[in-house]
């Protein structure tokens, strides 16, 4: 029997599939807008948030799924992306860089951090790397919290006094949003006519485009020289080393590229929210992303896309909004439903790990049955 779950792409084939998906993606926000009339929460906003997590999960999938590295602090790069965006666009810092430039810088800065944290630690194997990344993931939010009012003294001399880099636990707000002054001028519109603000439909498309960039890169990398090297490292690092693959460089590339996806998504997220706090990037976020990758199917880009959409929407829409809405604080107090979220994921993880450890949508299985061999012995040897 064919495993339909293992081959989500086989359900529809050809160009028709793409056309249908494109139509669905375009129509979705308008359909959701109609649905919002029935709900008393911002459905599109929740979906947008979920989609950001899908883009993040793609980055983590490169690190964990393709290169086989255990990263328990991936949210750190998300934080670095978001906070870099914050520093570049928060009015008090007087930089107020354009959104369209800042997001690429954020991706770059996150990649650089990926290399900084990876270079000394990527020679560590397995669990040790997991611990280092966990520690890094704990340090970044703590640093962000502490750098709101920062004084540095060195041998009695005050080098930096009360410097406010991150605005501490109050967070950075407001943050830069994309502006289309160029288009406004072109079409002779009023200044600010195309300001997007928090318009969820705009952000939906912005996030879809971001996700598509990430998805495209992931798919291309997966079937390339670098992607093969990642998988070789995952399968057997020592053997890969003997076959001419430099393990450190290859793993650094995975770390840096995974981080850059996260940085890009973090920047877009920050701009969408307009406000960021250290609390947004705690350990639970790293774990949630890991859950998406593992439940969906490590190493499967399409699997993580589909699984990510399902899990993140389930979490952000159903668990966070619909369920409390239904109970409306009567049957169960609201916090109970919120904390039930982790009960769901805990049980889900255990069940999946026991019964389907490769995840719901594992990588497309390669042909495993043995076809009649074309050449039985080492060909040509007998004749020579």
């Amino acid at each position: 029997m064919r495993d339909i779950l293992a081959q989500p792409r086989s359900i529809l084939s050809g160009r028709l599939r793409w056309v249908l998906i494109a139509i669905f993606v375009v129509i979705a926000p308008f359909a959701m807008k109609e649905l919002e009339l029935l709900t008393n929460f911002g459905l599109i906003t929740q979906v947008n948030r979920a989609l950001i997590f899908v883009a993040l999960a793609q980055g983590l999938n490169i690190v964990v799924g393709l290169a086989g590295l255990l990263d328990l602090g991936y949210a750190a790069f998300f934080a670095i992306g978001a906070y870099t965006f914050g520093l570049l666009t928060w009015p008090s810092h007087d930089i107020e860089m354009s959104f369209f430039l800042a997001i690429w810088i954020c991706a770059l800065v996150a990649a650089v951090f990926g290399i900084i944290i990876g270079a000394p630690t990527l020679r560590l194997r397995g669990d040790y790397l997991a611990i280092v990344t966990l520690a890094f993931g704990e340090i970044i939010p703590a640093l962000v919290r502490n750098l709101g009012d920062f004084t540095l003294t060195f041998r009695g001399r005050v080098l930096i006094e009360d410097y406010n880099l991150t605005n501490g636990s109050q967070g950075l707000t407001p943050l830069g949003r994309p502006n289309f002054t160029f288009l406004e001028n072109l079409f002779g519109l009023d200044k600010g006519a195309l300001n997007v603000g928090v318009n969820p439909t705009f952000w939906y498309f912005a996030i879809v485009i971001t996700s598509m960039i990430v998805l495209f890169s992931a798919i291309r990398l997966n079937n390339s020289r670098l992607g093969r090297a990642w998988k070789a490292i995952r399968e057997d690092e020592t053997a890969a080393d003997f076959m001419g693959v430099d393990p450190i460089r290859t793993k650094l590339a995975a770390f840096a590229i995974g981080a850059s996806f996260s940085g890009l998504a973090g920047a877009v997220y920050a701009s969408m929210l307009g406000a960021i706090f250290p609390e947004l990037f705690k350990f639970q976020v790293s774990i949630f992303l890991l859950i998406i990758v593992v439940l969906s199917g490590r190493g499967s880009i399409w699997g993580v896309l589909i699984g990510g959409i399902i899990i993140a929407t389930f979490d952000g829409v159903f668990l966070a909004q619909v369920l409390p809405d239904i109970f409306n604080g009567e049957v169960l107090p609201e916090y109970d439903v919120q904390s039930l979220r982790w009960v769901f994921f805990g049980i889900g993880l255990i069940v999946i790990m026991i019964f389907r450890p490769q995840g719901l949508f594992p990588p497309k299985s390669i042909e495993t049955k043995i076809v009649p061999p074309v050449a039985e012995s080492l060909e040509g040897v007998q004749n020579s």
């Binding site: 255990l70 560590l124 611990i131 350990f283 890991l290 490590r298 979220r341 982790w342 805990g346």
Partner: protein, 326 residues
């Protein structure tokens, strides 16, 4: 004695107390890792379970506060034993249900399962006791020995006037904490070193398959490891309750991270290393809280952890030699 020195001494005392309960938790981490190479993320939450369950048992018994007489000498140890039994059993049950089916699965599977268990436990605590700071009644009598006249006269015979040490305090609670943690740590070390089960544990940690071939029932050994580790974390949670008098459903995560860091610092898998690591982390925490600022303590501790792993991944007491077979 100058104020600075007094502050330092007080910090040392705090560091030792923190190290004491961290050691109890760290032992569970290191034992489980030693045998099945699992970073048991849920372990910290068993510490929290010890806190909550002992609180519940005390509430059932409803002894006079503070404890005195037979309550102090009989009820208290009984509650501690019951707490250890229940927490140990919980840990055992978790292993049997969640980790055991995954013994041969890829490493990520049990690790994430442990994280799942951890979050579940925390959610359950939040529902059970509420997602708020929970007070733990001041069952244990608190008296500062530094104000005790016998102690004062003892020190004055040594030529020291400790009535001037206004900052330093060493209370019955401190003594209680050391009185529980140090003997337990010593007992466990003896248990591992001397008893048959302890030897079997060490053998299983060295080479599970070889131990199995030598007729050791490895499954039973793993189960006892989880039980003992859970029991120690449970009693640590109770001691914490009696000492700090408050806690919340996430307390296990925080303490677990620190205990885990201790275990890694000492050399994960190494019993003495975990204890040493715990006291070092305890000291670092006390000093950092006092001299750098408690908001930086996390950064300091995790920074040290990263540096340690980069420069000496085997930990302080772990062996540096590892021959990897091709």
């Amino acid at each position: 004695m100058s104020i600075d020195n007094q502050v330092f001494i007080q910090n040392v005392i705090i560091g030792l107390t923190v190290g004491g309960y961290l050691a109890l938790i760290a032992l569970g981490y290191t034992m489980v890792y030693g045998i099945i190479e699992l970073i048991n993320f849920a372990h910290g939450d068993l510490f929290a379970f010890g806190f909550f369950i002992s609180l519940t048992i005390f509430a059932e018994i409803n002894p006079e506060i503070p404890l005195h007489g037979s309550d102090l000498y009989f009820t208290l140890p009984a509650v501690a034993l019951l707490t250890m039994l229940l927490t140990g059993s919980l840990n055992l049950a978790i292993d049997q249900i969640a980790y055991k089916p995954l013994r041969k699965a890829p490493r990520l599977a049990p690790l994430l399962t442990a994280v799942g268990i951890s979050f579940m436990l925390e959610a359950i605590y939040a529902i059970w006791k509420g997602p708020i700071q929970i007070p733990y009644p001041r069952y244990f009598p608190k008296e500062d020995y530094m104000e005790n006249e016998h102690v004062i006269s003892f020190f004055s015979k040594l030529g020291m006037d400790i009535t001037e040490w206004r900052i330093v305090s060493f209370t019955t609670k401190d003594l209680f904490l050391f009185g529980v943690t140090i003997p337990l740590v010593a007992l466990l070390t003896l248990f591992i070193d001397r008893t048959r089960i302890g030897k079997a544990m060490r053998a299983s940690a060295q080479d599970r398959e070889a131990a199995m071939m030598m007729g050791i029932n490895v499954n039973r050994i793993i189960a006892s490891t989880f039980f003992v580790g859970g029991a120690l974390a449970g009693v640590a949670g109770m001691v914490w309750g009696l000492y700090i008098n408050s806690g919340r459903f996430t307390m296990g995560f925080e303490a677990g991270l620190m205990a885990f860091t201790s275990a890694v610092l000492g050399g994960i898998g190494n019993i003495r290393g975990a204890v040493l690591g715990a006291f070092i982390i305890g000291m670092i925490k006390a000093m950092s809280d006092s001299y750098i600022g408690s908001e930086w303590t996390r950064v300091v501790i995790f920074g040290i952890l990263i540096l340690m792993l980069v420069f000496r991944p085997s930990g302080i007491l772990g062996s540096t030699q590892s021959i990897e077979k091709l």
